[in-house]
């Protein structure tokens, strides 16, 4: 029988201080019954001999100190899972909100999970083809990786994320991904975009959706990603599924954390975020991975919007330190009308070296990717120089690089929202673009690969040139 108290002393923001409690545990789940009869949930943040500090997931509006009942449930926050969760929509605490029946749980799992033993982990090295050249070719995603998208307000990250979810596949195997989608603090329209995308492409049949919208209680956002990841772990490691987890938007999650921290009057770290933000984020991101001798895997794509597009803001900064790379969206490219506006130079996939190459993608992948990077960087530098000194100041070679970088953006990065390029197409496109550069400059690709993969485009090119010349003459 849960103990019930009516001894709330203080209500501060999302926090309650309850007095005269006995035998309460740290982290215990709490049910709050408001004077109007509605029920909210919370958990114990701090416990002393006779007081408990509680955060209410569903806010504190309507709470008073005299009529509100506090019940300690005697266990931590849990979520019920079974294979029927696939295809369903839940709120941030794991209640169904799609009008269907409640889930009859096969298991109840703590939402905090447990840390994966590093010794049990299997190194992620299976290439995932997302069909997007800027990702597959240059910053490839591998199974079990956590690769965030750093975006900004007004940039098309929902489209990109939906495209990744729609197109992702493991090459050579008939493996499809189940998607766990967790919305934290995003607008109804954005959430609706994802859900209707999933419905339209029938992806919903393999998706589990958790929704906490902008007008839902902020503190519920602290639980939402954990609930979603608990479901993902169940799907991956109990049901052997490959799970792609999309968490959006992590910025709002961190703000909820800051809200609670401020209410507790904790000493703030940078920009008012709590000092333990890194650790807290790590307990979310590190739940991605693969386990030896288990079939399933969890690949995470967290999305966060960088306040003022500032990469050094604590949220993207700490995220970048935990995740295995980042995909950065650029406002400049977006203004130029390039979709997806992926800024490839500062983007990075740390696991790429192990996930590409012969047997996985193609032998020339690493070389082409390095060459494209280097050439694009040099081309952009040349273009900047041209802005200051005028085009005439560039050497002939630099002019070629500048032209290359333009073409690269227009043809390689640019692709349709529903265009699914195979990795061969992506690499061939890369080679084709490289033909515009003097061959002596191609230092990062192997000679034999130039022969094998680039020569076919060279011929066409020279043929075209000849034709042009003929026309001219």
């Amino acid at each position: 029988m849960p103990k019930e108290y009516m001894t709330i002393r203080d209500v501060v923001g999302p926090l309650l201080l309850v007095e005269k409690v006995t035998d309460v545990k740290y982290g215990e789940l709490v049910e709050l019954q408001f004077p109007d009869g509605s029920i909210s949930r919370g958990n114990v943040l701090e416990i002393t001999k006779d007081t408990a500090l509680i955060q209410s997931f569903e806010g504190t509006r309507g709470i008073n100190t005299t009529q509100t009942r506090v019940r300690f449930v005697g266990k931590g926050m849990e979520v019920g899972v079974s294979k029927d969760i696939v295809g369903r929509v839940f709120d941030g605490l794991g209640h169904t909100i799609d009008g269907g029946p409640e889930i009859i749980p096969e298991k109840r799992l703590s939402i905090y999970g447990e840390p994966m033993n590093p010794y049990s982990r299997d190194y992620p090295e299976d290439f995932i083809q997302t069909g997007i050249s800027a990702i597959d070719g240059l910053n490839p995603l591998v199974k079990g990786q956590k690769l965030p998208i750093f975006s900004g307000s007004g940039l098309p990250h929902p489209k990109l994320a939906a495209q990744i979810a729609r197109q992702s596949q493991v090459l050579g195997k008939d493996e499809e991904f189940a998607v766990v989608f967790c919305a934290m603090g995003i607008t109804f329209e954005e959430a609706n975009y994802f859900i209707s995308e999933f419905k339209r492409t029938a992806a919903i049949e393999k998706a589990v959706i958790f929704i906490n919208l902008a007008d839902d209680p902020a503190v519920e956002r602290i639980a939402a990603p954990r609930v979603a990841l608990t479901a993902a772990e169940y799907l991956a490691f109990d049901l052997d599924m490959h799970v792609l987890v999309i968490l959006t938007d992590m910025t709002y999650y961190c703000e909820a954390l800051r809200e609670v921290s401020a209410a507790r009057k904790e000493v703030p770290g940078r920009r008012g975020y709590p000092g333990y933000l890194y650790t807290d984020l790590a307990t979310i991101y590190e739940r991605a991975g693969k386990i030896k001798n288990k079939k399933g895997s969890i690949t995470q794509i967290p999305i966060l919007s960088m306040p003022e597009d500032d990469k050094t803001h604590p949220i993207p900064d700490l995220t970048g330190y935990i995740t295995e790379g980042q995909i950065i969206l650029s406002r400049d490219l977006h203004r130029k009308g390039i979709h997806p506006p992926i800024d490839v130079l500062p983007s990075l996939s740390r696991l790429k070296e192990k996930g590409i190459g012969p047997g996985k993608t193609r032998e020339d992948h690493s070389g082409v990717s390095n060459q494209l990077f280097a050439a694009y960087a040099r081309g952009k530098e040349a273009k900047e120089l041209a802005v200051i000194l005028g085009e005439a100041a560039l050497s002939d070679v630099d002019k070629k690089f500048a032209k290359f970088s333009e073409e690269f953006e227009q043809r390689f990065i640019q692709q349709g929202e529903f265009e699914n390029r195979s990795i061969e197409q992506t690499l061939d496109l890369g080679w084709e673009l490289l033909t515009h550069l003097p061959r002596a400059e191609l230092k990062r690709v192997r000679e034999e690969h130039i022969e094998k993969y680039m020569s076919k485009f060279m011929k066409e090119e020279s043929k075209e040139e000849k034709e042009l010349e003929e026309v001219k003459s």
């Binding site: 416990i47 002393t48 840390p115 994966m116 590093p118 010794y119 982990r121 130079l345 100041a393």
Partner: protein, 586 residues
């Protein structure tokens, strides 16, 4: 042993009451699951305890037990090839016990109690021995001979010494002093927060060769020295740490993954048993101890992990080995300090970090050094410490970087701009420094080539000058430069691209011996001299810049160590090629 009760729980911090004789930094057991914790503050009758495991489910009234002992590590045969968490629980044993996820409250001793080791005695009955003297040896792995030493603080005459197969708990020798008998086992315990004793600390004089050109030639660290690698995310800190762990010519490697990614530790775990040590030809794992406290594991254990690692390092140093320790990343350790400090409601210093951050960091790095070990045989050991720092936003003015720079002698500053250009290792050559240059240059003169020092200085000067010239080019274009300056720019580019840049994932390029580094730099600098001479004699700059031999220079990094003779041929060819082109021009 005494029992008290919990009065308060706040995250990883538990306040215990009803204890009387617990001391600061004593190990206590918390709750029914007997979770490990450490006393970090005493106020009257309240003892603040940082708990090394998740505290969810603990509550007031739960028991707390004292152990009367400080947090210690177990030292003895079996350390090598292990992977531990921050409080020395072997992760492979934990997996066998509780599965793929770490459940709290699980216990496992640091050293295997069942395994028998072949102990060969070195000392004899009747020998007078004291702390640090070697009693016998155990072949721990194919390359490392574990020396079983008399534990610190013990001395006497050997009355009995065994030989044969023993577990770490078995008595291998008996010492007698003033009629008191003392049994010695191969296992020692040592509190992690106290440095192990040594006879003398000596100044470092030998470079730690890492096979990384920018480090060994430009910013070397000495054996027994300290270095730090600060850099924003994505600039390649971890790759540098891994490269040092793989290729450093230290006999023992301690790698501490402190609050970092789980997959990175897995990478090390899967790669090290396969990679061959370039010096012994044996798998790298045979000389390595891994400490993995990933970012999602409990925060207090992360704070302890660097101490666990360095104590194990000191133990091997005491045997007379050169040890290289990498801590990735010390910022996470500092953040753990900050979190606990916040929970203790201490007055914060800068950015919420506790005021004692500086002294804690200094105390940690000061445990590095070249030492003459306790013992009669005057053996020397060294412990080199390389700490990664993860400054928020890449801002080096933040407290952890600043406090680290105050104590370390070598600074490898990583820059994200270089990383974007895929210039790896992304160590900024203008910002970084090494205060071991003098010692190392003496070593080079003796062991590699007397010319090395001058080459390095000249190359550095060229890189400096390039930075100035680049400004001019940016403002007024490349035409403003004289021909000599243009040659210099080209040489600087060659130093950067053909020497400084090194591909950690290329089978040959990943490691370069000192000898080859010298020759490579010599080739580049020789070309520079010859080119300047040629200009003097009226050769067209275009002919120099387009000389086919430059293509060969750009491939020198891919020459295998055994093809080192080709570099000497190249040196000759550079001189003659230009003579030829000159005569061709005339």
């Amino acid at each position: 042993m005494e029992q008290g009760i919990i009065g308060k729980v706040s995250g990883p911090l538990v306040v215990a009451e009803g204890l009387t004789n617990a001391k600061m930094y004593d190990l206590v057991r918390v709750g029914k699951d007997r979770l490990m914790g450490e006393v970090i503050e005493i106020r009257g009758e309240s003892f603040s305890v940082q708990v090394y495991e998740e505290t969810i489910g603990l509550g007031p009234g739960d028991p707390v037990y004292t152990t009367g002992e400080a947090l210690s590590v177990e030292l003895g045969p079996g350390l090598l090839e292990s992977i531990y968490d921050g409080v020395q629980r072997p992760l492979n044993v934990l997996r066998d016990k509780v599965g793929d996820f770490i459940v709290r409250g699980v216990e496992a001793p640091g050293l295997n109690r069942e395994k028998k080791w072949e102990f060969k005695s070195v000392a004899k009955v009747g020998d007078e021995v004291a702390s640090g003297d070697i009693l016998g040896t155990v072949q721990e792995t194919t390359i490392i001979e574990h020396k079983v030493m008399v534990p610190p603080g013990i001395e006497g005459k050997i009355t009995k010494i065994n030989a044969g197969e023993f577990t770490v708990d078995d008595t291998v020798a008996v010492l007698e002093k003033d009629g008191q008998k003392k049994e010695i086992t191969m296992l020692q315990r040592w509190p992690v927060r106290r440095g192990r004793p040594y006879k003398d600390k000596l100044p470092p004089h030998t470079p730690l060769s890492t096979g990384q050109r920018v480090i060994d030639t430009f910013f070397p660290v000495a054996k027994g020295g300290t270095a730090c690698v600060p850099g924003p995310f994505g600039s390649g800190k971890t790759v540098i740490q891994h490269q040092i762990a793989k290729w450093a010519d230290a006999e023992i490697i301690i790698f501490i993954g402190c609050g970092e990614r789980g997959n990175e530790m897995t990478d090390v775990l899967m790669e090290f048993p396969e990679l061959k040590d370039p010096y012994s030809g044996e798998p790298l794992m045979k000389r390595t101890v891994l400490i993995a406290n990933t970012s999602n594991m409990p925060v207090a254990a992360r704070e302890a992990s660097v101490y666990t690692g360095i104590t194990i390092g000191e133990y091997f140093r005491d045997m007379g080995y050169s040890v290289a320790l990498q801590a990735d990343s010390t910022s996470r350790w500092a953040e753990a300090l900050r979190e606990i400090s916040g929970r203790l409601e201490e007055m914060p210093g800068e950015e919420g970090y506790p005021a004692y951050l500086g002294s804690r960091a200094a105390a940690f790095y000061e445990r590095a050094g070249r030492t003459s070990c306790l013992s009669k045989d005057d053996r020397e050991g060294s412990l080199t410490v390389v700490g990664a720092v993860s400054p928020p936003g890449g801002d080096l003015s933040e407290p952890v970087t600043q406090n680290t720079l105050r104590v370390v002698k070598v600074f490898w500053g990583l820059e994200d701009q270089l990383a974007y250009q895929r210039h790896f290792p992304a160590i900024n050559w203008l910002q970084s420094y090494s205060l071991y240059m003098e010692e190392v240059e003496d070593y080079w003169t003796k062991e590699v080539d007397p010319e090395f020092k001058k080459l390095r200085t000249d190359a550095m000067a060229i890189l400096q000058r390039e930075a100035e010239l680049k400004e001019i080019v940016r403002l007024v274009g490349v035409e403003a430069l004289s021909t000599n300056e243009r040659i210099l720019m080209e040489t600087a580019r060659s130093v950067r691209e053909d020497f400084l840049q090194q591909n950690a994932f290329h089978e040959v390029d990943t490691f370069t011996s000192l000898k080859k580094q010298f020759l490579m730099l010599k080739v580049i600098m020789h070309f520079h001299e010859v080119a300047l001479e040629a200009i003097e004699k009226g050769t067209n700059i275009k002919d120099i810049l387009e000389a086919p031999i430059r293509e060969r220079i750009s491939r020198i990094k891919f020459l295998e160590e055994k093809e080192i003779g080709k570099l000497k041929d190249l040196l000759k060819d550079i001189s003659s090629q230009f003579k030829a082109s000159r005569t061709g021009g005339e």
